[in-house]
Subunit: 593 residues, 2 copies
């Protein structure tokens, strides 16, 4: 029996989900929600995305005032020396208090405002659940080794958040052993805070448009809460493709911000491919000078790459580079001719070029030099080596390759030819002292290349359940992308499909399951550029993020849709153009301001 | 035999088109193109979208300099009194010279730049096809009646553009009888101009990244050209839905800019629907106060509506309002309770509400008052009255409605009940002196409502070929939207599908075909808000725009793909976030600047 759902059944389920979204009435839990109710997806308030492992919240709450609020580093080991935490404090102070749509409203009578303000304060204080102001969140990292510098595979992201705990009322704590947990905890804390208009008469519209709402009484609140959290998977990635279209550095940075908010921790940078070579190599500057879409305005210089890696580091995100070979390398040719296979029609060259020519020695010399540079420029201990979709047609047409294969008794065995290349590449990379291991696309495994035991196989094709079982049963580690090709767009709320896919949904024992490191959402660049990358990706990638962070049991789309709706609005309110994925609705943002 | 293409065949054709895009090599016509060539869709240079009826271009060309270029109104009748042309001159001066990516480049040695500049000028002047500078485009509108104020159905959009014509070398003319033709001609002229780097050494990269390109020698050129053009269809519309999500006024304006560039001339403003009522009525302010997503930041005030209509008027675009009734009216209830039908489960009300209750007199009194206001606020002679998707289930459950129907011998005939409502609504609208006619969704026709002869039927359902034949054979005019629901997104280059649909592709005689006024692209708002509206719509709507403007014979996607690629880049270069629709590529825009 296969575990793959029949496509018709899938469509039926999707339709039911969508139908429900359109016609269902909101449940009781939203009765007190101060925005218009109706048959659309109501966002939650102050719920965390991705959902923490353990969370206990009370009805008691504290209020926060922007001017009288601070994060305070408690442990002396950290103080003043951990740039990651210091930067995070600046960042999260803003995120706790997102600019409210109402900040921009005008025409409110100032006296009236002040009068109502007093009223509202009185009402807040009259609420028996109100427990005072939260002025301080303590950051507690009791780790004598101090602050780690670079994020890495299996880094410790565990944390606790306590708000108004019985043993320290009126305060909050973010507790972790490592800086990575502190970062995740700060994000969680920032999401626990919500804007409320329940106190005062903020949403009591007086019928006169020109007086507007009195929004001065919006309160930022946080309920008494205890969170104990750590990720389910250590590799929670996102692939962006900067070759099919150039992606502006500002967009890459915005995307890193959003990855942090969604607790993703690997930016898989698919740097090069057939259409363009945007990386400015120190050793081979001609590659981008002649192979980029544009040699100065569509490239990433050494400084740009360092800047992106630093930006990611500050957010606890690894940057894993991929310079895909031996296929997907057409863009290498203009700046470094002669690496690729010349294709033939019969006895004559037809002008087309195929994958790199694995029979040429200069190919390996080049690859060694290029990757020596790359492995130094990208400090992560892992490098993604590609190895996917090698087209044998051109190799088959080339007489030099045929001769080589005859000579080595490989006649007709092109998968073996491919393996020769990959094996040599892996040996080259292994010889560099800076790297711990490598990731390759599943073809490398499928073609039977002998890889080192710590190689990670990146599963991306269909029937991934079988592939995951095969890879892990052979003792190799795996990451999954097959169900998460977000470049394939669909009409409607397709996030549920991504949400329900689980890398563990294959037949295998506990030992096999241990070898599943996580997965990556992929946004291939055929139809994505700087214009539409962020709205196309978010919040759809949020669905993948929760799958990879939260416990396997968190998979109820009826519950999740309200939280992902809050997450969508949260991203918009923080200034990132996430698109609407749940049908009609309104995030409290003033687009006309 | 039906003319509907078998779906499998359609998919096959689409695949072939996409395959071709990915693997084809560029044709000869692109050999001299100064950007990187490769197996991606090359944009044309200075080609017009939508394609004009008649165009004759020579290889001779003139050069334009931003400082020494102007539009000049020639005919004394127009001078100084036509705000539409005066505003257009300001707008198009910028569009003729879009900010070049290269403007932002730095690190170019200034002396070097000046030296090269001189070289380049010399080279330009050495080209035998170079015929001097174009300093003046004459706007000639020989119409003693002067400048019309509001665009209208069947307005005259015919124009001619002449550049370096034999009888007036070194100048250009835009000639039309009416201001609407002048506007279309200015757009066409602006698209004929292209940026060239062929003169001088601009794209001769010197291998040193820090010196960059010398881009000071980019020239704006325009070939000697004669265009005679007029639209195939008079109604070339675009529907936006501002109810399912609120759309910012700035986005509506950007969209009007893009409509103008694509020569679309009707903004169908689907203002209200079930989810929200964003229009601030003078007579019924409670409708938006209680029925909008937000009563102050998610509404269109009277001033906002007037502002949008004025913005559209300046671009020769009609604004046709739709306040859909009797279905799609849930958002009317909070601000004006009691119009809708109460639904029953057996003998008891179930709390749900259905369409407006056509048996209540107060419904008609309300509708008359509302539309009296609307028809004054929206000056267009046409109003769209909706009338689609009326769900009979709730009507069937309501005992008062059953009693009414029994009384009038209509038992069980709900389509007739619907007709009663629509007939009354049409009579009400007809009684207003300000309106010439109305547009209704096809159900009104399908349900056999007797409509006035000048009613326009808006065809939107499947099997539209039959419907178009039926509507026109009954002597009524029709506009088509069925194939152009752009909210339904697909992976890949889906614009070809929209491009190939033709409103005339149905069986019918010449008299019937004369009744086809055109069509509308629709972007329903379930999954569209201010964040993603523009990139989702453009350049996909450009495909519809060419279908509706250009002759029926212009339908070669292999030819069109290069022009729509230039149009995509043109929209981006002019500052509008059009998404990539043809696969990998690069528009010459510096996103990092």
């Amino acid at each position: 029996m296969t575990k793959i759902l029949h496509p018709v059944l899938k469509i039926l389920i999707l339709c039911l989900v969508m139908l429900e979204m359109v016609v269902c009435m909101p449940g009781d839990q939203f009765k007190n929600w101060p925005v218009r109710t109706g048959p659309w997806v109501q966002p939650t308030r102050g719920e965390v995305w991705p959902k923490p492992k353990v969370q206990k919240s009370e009805e008691d709450f504290l209020a926060l005032r922007e001017k009288d609020f601070r994060f305070e580093i408690k442990s002396s080991e950290v103080h003043g020396e951990c740039d990651i935490i210091n930067e995070a404090i600046k960042r999260y102070h803003k995120r706790v208090f997102p600019p409210s749509a109402s900040d921009t409203e005008t025409n409110i009578n100032q006296n009236n405002r002040r009068q109502r303000k007093r009223d509202s304060r009185r009402e807040l204080k009259n609420d028996p659940k109100y427990k005072g102001y939260l002025e301080k969140v303590e950051i507690i990292m009791n780790n004598p080794q101090g602050c780690e510098k670079y994020p890495y595979m299996d880094m410790d992201e565990q944390y606790e958040v306590k708000v108004n705990a019985p043993d320290s009322p009126g305060t909050a704590q973010i507790i972790a052993f490592h800086v990575w947990g502190i970062l995740r905890g700060m994000e969680t804390f920032s999401q626990l805070v919500y804007a409320s208009t329940q106190y005062g008469d903020a949403l009591q519209f007086d019928g006169n448009l020109h007086s507007g709402y009195d929004t001065s009484s919006i309160e930022y609140l946080v309920n008494s809460t205890m969170v104990m959290d750590s990720p389910r998977f250590s590799h929670r990635g996102l692939l962006l493709d900067t070759s099919r279209h150039y992606i502006a550095k500002s967009v890459l940075k915005d995307n890193l911000d959003l990855m942090e908010m969604n607790k993703l921790n690997v930016f898989h940078w698919h740097m090069t491919d057939d259409p363009s070579f945007p990386y400015v190599s120190k050793k081979f500057p001609e590659l981008s000078a002649k192979g980029a879409w544009h040699p100065t305005i569509a490239v990433y210089t050494q400084e740009d790459v360092a800047d992106i890696i630093e930006y990611a580091r500050m957010r606890g995100i690894r940057v894993v580079s991929e310079f895909d070979t031996p296929g997907h390398t057409q863009s290498f040719e203009p700046g470094h001719p002669g690496l690729l296979t010349e294709c033939y029609d019969g006895d004559t060259k037809n002008g087309f070029l195929g994958p790199m020519n694995p029979t040429k020695k200069r190919v390996y010399a080049f690859v060694e030099e290029l990757f020596e540079e790359i492995t130094q420029v990208f400090p992560d201990k892992y490098v993604h080596l590609g190895g996917d979709e090698v087209d044998y047609k051109c190799w088959k047409s080339n007489p030099d390759i045929s001769e080589f294969m005859n000579k080595w008794n490989l006649t007709g065995q092109y998968a073996k030819l491919e393996s020769i290349y990959i094996k040599k590449l892996l040996d080259i990379i292994s010889s560099f002292p800076t790297k711990n291991g490598y990731i390759v696309w599943q073809e490398v495994f499928d073609n039977g290349v002998k890889v080192k035991n710590d190689t990670i196989i990146h599963v991306w094709k269909g029937q991934w359940e079988w592939e995951m079982a095969k890879v892990t049963s052979s003792g190799l580690r795996a990451i999954l992308s097959s169900p998460w090709y977000l470049n394939y767009i669909n009409y409607g709320a397709d996030w549920t499909k991504y949400y329900l896919a689980d890398p563990m949904d294959f037949f295998g024992g506990a030992k096999q399951k241990e070898l599943v490191l996580g997965g990556e959402a992929c946004l291939w660049g055929e139809f994505v550029n700087s214009v539409n990358l962020i709205p196309r990706l978010w919040p759809r990638a949020s669905a993948v993020a929760e799958r990879l962070w939260s416990p396997a049991s968190v998979r109820n789309t009826q519950e999740a849709k309200h939280r992902i709706q809050e997450m969508e609005c949260r991203m918009i309110q923080r200034g990132y153009p996430a698109e609407p994925i749940n049908g009609p609705g309104f995030c409290n943002v003033n687009w006309n301001a």
